[in-house]
């Protein structure tokens, strides 16, 4: 039988205790055990960035991390970003306003990556934004709508 281990992990503010296979990725744990399917898996080798989540506030590729490594940690997924069912996070709203998503598959990873980035760099240049998302692949948008959205969010903060 497969080896498993108990873990305690907080996801989007809710504490979970689960017995998980030691080889299960964090992405699969979130998606298939907790049914938080908003985290998407695009390449399973850490390049596309679609599966990015925040672990203790830091971006992490959930396809390259094992669920057991999240034991004792706090994880935020895309489901935990919007403040309420009726209000979007300002970044989510800006992506909506600037057509920063098309098929939406890369979007979860873009949002989590950018939330960490904007915390560290609240007034980025366009170049900063491009570099920040250069580890997140999008095949639909050509990135322009995403960059416009980020620049709009950060300039609104100035006003």
């Amino acid at each position: 039988m497969e080896e498993s281990r108990p873990i305690s992990v907080e996801v989007n503010g809710i504490a979970f205790r689960r017995e998980v296979s030691v080889r299960m990725t964090l992405a699969d744990f979130l998606r298939h055990d907790l049914m938080l399917t908003g985290t998407h898996v695009g390449c399973e080798h850490g390049v596309c960035g679609a599966c990015t989540v925040l672990v203790n506030g830091r971006s992490a590729r959930s396809c390259l991390m094992l669920a057991v490594q999240a034991d004792g940690e706090s994880v935020t997924t895309i489901e935990g970003i919007a403040p309420s069912p009726t209000t979007l996070h300002p970044l989510q709203q800006a992506l909506k306003d600037h057509h920063g998503l098309q098929c939406g598959f890369c979007t979860s990873g873009m949002v989590t990556t950018l939330i960490e980035f904007l915390r560290d760099c609240p007034k980025p240049t366009e170049r900063d934004v491009r570099v920040a998302i250069s580890g997140n692949l999008c095949r639909c948008t050509g990135y322009q709508g995403i960059i416009d959205a980020v620049l709009r969010v950060t300039s609104t903060k100035d006003e």
Binding site: H32, C48, I81, Q102, N136, L137, G142
Partner: protein, 773 residues
């Protein structure tokens, strides 16, 4: 105010932004099992035997299926593509699983079904296949040489099909020409690489005697057709449902071996079965575009006016026919579209190789045709010492000649007639925005500083809205909600928003009261799906037509209920009211309830039952979008790195339904085109073994390579549909490789660089520079 022409909020965004989308891998059902495939590690090999015991013995494994296990459940074990051509010399249809000969790396040989994917993959590694490798056909040109190894053991040769495209007396045109120039091109396009890979879930429900297949597809009804054909079932006993699709870009319009295998596993095991493709599988098992070798000559008069083009095109088809002959047909057809070309002959040869089958990726062969034409025009300019833009000016089809009947027919046998557009105006606009006239001075200054900058342009004209139809049903039930059902596919291009926008425009203007269900064969009997920049044109037209009919009926019923004249009524929000008297109103829910039927009572207003209309408007002729791209680049001659400094894209897709969405489609296409120009190479070795298999060695364009794109829109509505729409989905990609590589060549003019291939990787650019120095 009309919704059309405005960037209304997209219906798709809110759930996607919250992580509440429902993609194929998000589907979970009780008792569901997961599948993994055993694939051929050889490009060409015989299967001497398959031993399942070790895999079957692994705890958690429910089945290991090979061809013999599937056959009792199949009426037809081959996936037959419904795209006939009289030019086929051989029929090579894909089997569900390999019988005794694998013909490409990645071809599925066996299927393991287990409690979860982890166990399924463990077990797949335990399936023992006794292989006898055979010589493969690797390069498509070499594959056509006499004595080349054949891709299929029993085939006499590798020529799948051969046909000429052309018109006019091309040899006479060459005989009288002032100048003749000859070029050879190798062009490569890679995979689609939607960020979501493929996936299929199937469940056979004994309570309903129905097989339901959820699949990440661009063509639900085509999938239904193949499933019914292979399983020997009728259309009611199979339902194909499309969940949210995380990008399509072409290959998801194909029905695959894995799809039928998942369906069969669900039938055989009596449990839901899921298979989700991983990225490596996407590289080796999802169809892709690949290689074309062109040898072409162009004849011009002393004024650089085109007299004729002739040549040969060899196209890599892969190991099987997964989508007809349309790709090379499109490529060859494209040469004769956009510029006035008196005579033309291209001989097309389609070669079988031991590689994964080739089918359209966004652009579908058209980018390659445009690349050839634009490179030839650059050559003419260089030889005759003319401005590259001037050569195009002298040859573009002028607006005064619209509609313009070209000499070619499309693959459906219909003449290619350019409907509307002012191609020269687009070019001039783009040149001005890009600072074309002043660039020479800047280039000179840059060179003095040791910097190599260049500029390039390319025009394109693209057939969009390939018919014959798309089906759309608009229905308002007693709930008052407007339901729109369609065979069109939503895969990121805002299809649901587009349809809701068009329908709401006629039915009260409240898009939040519209639900669009796309790609569910249980809801509309027919459908074509997403391909060829067709959905706004065809689904949009059917939606418009259906909404008009529902509107007319709603107003007739409301007139009866309100005892008012039909001409005095309008639909606003969720009710019908007397113009100017909002109190005299009846809700759409009441209108719909009135025709839902009450036993023993007459329907109001003398109308038939129900408030709905289904339309499949037939539009056979395609409508032609056009545009011009101008790229400015800076080339690092030491590293071969190309930085795209500026990209101007001026285009015309007829009447614009949603400006933001149109921009998004174009810029996304531009990114894909840059990938084709500089980065993307699905590389194989001479044994047809893939040399790339991750997104770390096959490079997609990221945000740092992508320049800001300056877009400008011209609008020449087409008379071919009531809304004047042309398609846009593929347009962005089409002129990018020739524009970018013309700019690279221009930057490297001091080194006498000549570019005749895609992609141009940094090593290729360094080689060009070093060849000179």
């Amino acid at each position: 105010m009309s919704l059309i022409g405005n960037s209304v909020p997209r219906l798709e965004d809110e759930p996607l932004l919250r992580g509440k989308g429902r993609f194929i891998d998000d589907l979970h059902m009780p008792r569901m099992l997961e599948a993994a495939f055993v694939r051929s590690p050889h490009a060409h090999a015989l299967v001497r035997g398959i031993r399942k015991d070790a895999a079957r013995a692994l705890p958690g494994v429910h089945a290991v299926l090979v061809r013999a296990d599937l056959l009792p459940h199949l009426r037809n074990e081959f996936i037959v593509v419904g795209l006939p051509s009289k030019d086929y010399k051989q029929n090579v249809n894909r089997p569900a699983l390999v019988a005794d000969e694998a013909v490409y790396v990645g071809q599925p040989v066996a299927m393991v079904v287990a409690e979860n994917r982890y166990i399924a993959e463990d077990a797949a590694a335990l399936v023992e296949v006794d292989w006898e490798p055979l010589s493969p056909a690797a390069d498509c040109s070499a594959a056509l040489s006499p004595g080349a190894p054949t891709a299929h053991r029993g085939s006499p040769h590798n020529l799948l099909a051969e046909f000429p495209i052309g018109y006019g007396d091309v040899d006479a045109a060459f005989a009288s020409a002032a100048h003749v120039f000859k070029e050879s091109f190798w062009q490569h396009r890679g995979g689609s690489h939607s960020i979501e890979c493929r996936g299929t879930v199937a469940a056979s429900d004994p309570n309903e005697e129905r097989l339901t297949v959820w699949t990440s597809t661009q063509m639900a009804h085509a999938a239904l057709r193949v499933l019914c054909d292979m399983l020997g079932r009728d259309e009611d006993s199979v339902r194909v449902v499309t969940p949210d699709v995380g990008g399509g870009f072409g290959p998801k319009l194909v029905f695959y071996a894995e799809d039928i295998c998942v369906a069969l596993a669900a039938i055989i095991l009596g449990r839901p079965v899921k298979w989700i493709e991983d990225r490596l599988e996407h590289f080796v098992a999802t169809t892709q575009e690949r290689d074309q070798h062109w040898d072409v000559e162009v004849a011009v008069d002393g004024e650089a006016r085109l007299l004729g083009i002739r040549g040969t095109l060899i196209h890599d088809h892969g190991a099987y026919t997964a989508r007809g002959v349309n790709l090379p047909y499109n490529s060859a057809e494209q040469i004769a579209i956009g510029y006035e070309l008196p005579a033309y002959r291209m001989n097309v040869q389609i070669a079988l190789t031991n590689k994964v089958p080739v089918t359209p990726v966004r652009g579908a062969g058209h980018p390659q045709g445009v690349f050839v034409m634009e490179r030839l025009l650059d050559r003419i300019a260089r030889e005759l010492d003319l401005d590259r833009a001037e050569v195009r000016r002298r040859n573009l089809v002028p607006a005064t000649k619209m509609p313009y009947r070209t000499g070619v027919k499309n693959r459906g046998g219909m003449p290619v007639v350019l409907d509307t557009g002012d191609y020269l105006r687009c070019q001039e606009d783009a040149l001005e925005r890009a600072g074309w006239a002043e660039f020479g001075e800047r280039q000179k200054n840059a060179r003095n500083d040791g910097r190599y900058i260049g500029i390039g342009l390319a025009n394109f004209v693209k057939g969009t809205g390939r018919g014959p139809f798309e089906t759309v049903t608009v229905r308002i039930g007693p709930s008052g909600r407007i339901l729109v059902y369609t065979g069109a596919a939503a895969m990121g291009q805002s299809t649901k928003t587009m349809l809701a926008q068009i329908v709401a425009d006629q039915l009260g203007g409240d898009m939040t009261n519209v639900t669009v269900i796309a790609g569910d064969t249980g809801t509309v009997p027919t459908g074509m799906g997403g391909s060829n920049s067709r959905q706004a044109v065809l689904a949009g037209t059917s939606a418009h037509s259906a909404a008009l009919k529902v509107r007319e009926k709603a107003i007739r019923i409301a007139a009866h209920l309100l005892e008012a004249g039909e001409a005095d009524l309008e639909i606003e929000g969720r009710s019908v009211h007397v113009k100017g008297v909002k109190k005299m109103a009846v809700e759409l829910s009441k209108v719909a309830s009135a025709v839902a039927g009450t036993a023993g009572y007459r329907l109001p207003g003398g109308v038939g039952p129900g408030l709905e209309a289904m339309e499949s408007v037939v539009i056979d002729p395609m409508t032609y979008a056009n545009g011009t791209a101008v790229a400015e680049v800076e080339v690092d001659i030491d590293t071969g790195g190309v930085r795209i400094v500026k990209m101007v894209f001026v285009h015309d897709c007829g009447r614009i339904l949603h400006p933001q969405v149109v921009d998004g489609q174009l810029i996304g296409g531009v990114a894909h085109g840059i990938g084709n120009a500089l980065f993307e190479w699905m590389r194989y070795d001479d044994q047809a073994q893939p040399l790339v298999g991750t997104l770390a060695d096959y490079l997609l364009v990221t945000a740092t390579e992508m320049p800001p794109v300056e877009l400008a829109h011209h609008e020449s509505p087409t008379p071919l549909n009531p809304l004047g729409i042309k398609g846009v989905g593929e347009c962005g990609v089409i002129p990018i490789a020739p524009a970018v590589l013309s700019a690279v060549e221009d930057a490297l003019k001091p080194f006498g660089a000549r570019i005749s291939r895609t992609p141009m990787m940094p090593s290729d650019i360094v080689a060009l520079v070093r060849a000179f120095t």
